[in-house]
Amino acid sequence: MTTDSLHYTLLIKSAPFDDETNETAAAFAAAVLAAGHKIDRVFFYQDAVLIASNTLTPPQGQQPLHSHWTKLKEHYPLPLQVCIANALRRGILDDSEASRYDKIKTLCEGFELCGLGEMAEAMKQSDRIITF
């Protein structure tokens, strides 16, 4: 990383089925990382938490929505944080919440449920917050 590299937080809030925002955000993240900057976190909020659902089944020949992010995470340190309150409302649970509510895990591997304190941290520490 260069000395003038920036720390980014990406806030993704658009519903994944409305338009190409998810793909655009992932392409932006790839460009930022390739340029030597750091992404402190990608925070999925509101309907964007659906991207992290492992129950979505894409039509034949299409990639799952989360694959843009998990592929990127294979090459870079990239925290993929999903707002826990928004996720639970939309039926997305990790192991811990699935156990608590006696349901099944629906969160994709590579993502984690987090509180809104992460966005407060972003406000404080990241150089840039980009909203999609």
Binding site: Y45, L116, G117, A120
Partner: protein
């Protein structure tokens, strides 16, 4: 200064306000700009959009208690929605577009809903 801009109208779940309040709870209270349909957040008469959800007006009126004290509302948006100073919470500051532009130019970070 960090600014959260609300352009979308209040929905049944007030997730944009929840983010503002969470940031404030961590001592990162942002200023807020209400514009376009987002100006409706300031309406004193806004009730819950679902019988089992939170009242928009009650939640919004709690913002000053969270140290969110810089809440600006676009005058043009107010007028186009038929709102007057009497309709909105008293702590909201009606502001011209030019002043909002100047304010946004000073923002370190912005989040738009």
């Amino acid at each position: 200064m960090n600014i959260v801009i609300l352009k979308s109208p209040p929905g049944s779940d007030l997730e944009s306000l929840e983010l503002v309040m969470a940031c404030a709870a961590f001592e990162q209270a942002p200023a807020m700009v209400l514009m376009e349909q987002g100006a409706l957040f300031a309406n004193k008469a806004s009730s819950a959009l679902r019988s089992d959800s939170k009242s928009i007006s009650k939640l919004f009126s709690a913002l000053p208690m969270y140290d969110c004290e810089q809440i600006y509302i676009c005058e043009d948006s107010m007028h186009s929605l038929g709102m007057t100073s009497e309709n909105i919470h008293g702590f909201c500051i009606p502001t011209s577009k030019d002043k909002l532009k100047a304010l946004l130019a000073t923002a370190k970070k912005t989040i738009v809903f």
